[in-house]
Symmetry: C2
Subunit: 204 residues, 2 copies
Amino acid sequence: MSIRHGLLALLDRGPRYGYQLRTEFESRTGATWPLNVGQVYTTLARLERDSLVVPAGEDDSGHALYAITDKGRTELREWFARPVDRKSPPRDELAIKLAMAVGSPEVDIRAVIQAQRLHTIRAMQDYTRLKAQAIETGPTTRDEVAWLLVLEQLIFSAEAEARWLDHCEARLVRLAESIGQADDDAPKRQADSTDSATHRPARR
Amino acid sequence: MSIRHGLLALLDRGPRYGYQLRTEFESRTGATWPLNVGQVYTTLARLERDSLVVPAGEDDSGHALYAITDKGRTELREWFARPVDRKSPPRDELAIKLAMAVGSPEVDIRAVIQAQRLHTIRAMQDYTRLKAQAIETGPTTRDEVAWLLVLEQLIFSAEAEARWLDHCEARLVRLAESIGQADDDAPKRQADSTDSATHRPARR
DNA sequence: CGACACATGTAACACGTTACATGATTTG
DNA sequence: CAAATCATGTAACGTGTTACATGTGTCG
């Protein structure tokens, strides 16, 4: 629902045409999240289907304009007012990967962590470099400020991820002996159950 | 691609049937990401379509088993080896929302930040409470360790988000006067261009 | 002239997700 | 017996994403 609302927000500033929306979207978020042009048109079609936007004639240059509707403005206001749900967050692939790795003794989990950490830190450095550039010029336009914030979000996230990975490694080392050798093959995996019994299918 | 690979990882430990997979998936990730049962079956169908799993007869109790194939194992190994891409991260809804809010003067961006922060912090507290419980019992099984790691990932992320929100607020306050009054309506938004000219559609 | 940016779309697919149908088995 | 859990699926929809088709205008 990001593109949808993003486009809606752009249209709230006045009628726009497809190609223009892509351009503005990208200049708001920096080139961080390139937006395929085709997607603008499909998204616009869906927004129109839901009566959040309507075709609004043409530009001086013949561009097909779209305008936000009242319903669209309402939806947009609600979107801004409604916090992004972090209580049922989207499944994070990395978290799932590590959770699965923990449960699979044959996987070298430290290698997984190490590879990810290298990647994450490199990404963080790239973002930091971009941020330095962005600050150097001094963010003056709204677009530049917006991009700076996005960049910083990426940096904060990457940093948190790196720290989490360190934490995982430390925790796994600490717990290595308390697990480790037990429960190595499939059939007997459901033998011991303490509180997670409710999560497990009965064996009959 | 999280569920797909998650199920594959579970199947790597031996043949499983659908319902069982959901149960095991959930006990690995804690109840953090409830998995609709139907989704297991659709995902299994797609995995079978791609020859990553095959039907493997029945259980003693008549459950329809699936087994991972060599191709599936290869795919799984590659998945573990390949870091999750953080250089072209999935569009983060919150980042987009703030980027759009910055560009829309009529939006009360501080209210948006404040609402989000409350939500995020509350989520963080919930997770922290769960973590305390998890640690209290002492994580012994692999499942419990996995869940603990997932929980901590959520906590780390939420914390980073909260800090980023604070940072945004501070930055916006600092930049308030240097922007603020300029560039308030749509038509003239494209007048001043420094480096972001390349991002903007030409006006003709 | 040829390459490239501008500009508008359509078709097709992937994954995630929910709702529904259906029945067996267990348990209070 | 009724409700809940176990168990297997199907149908349908939503968003995100890519590939393709097509044409205009511009610039070196």
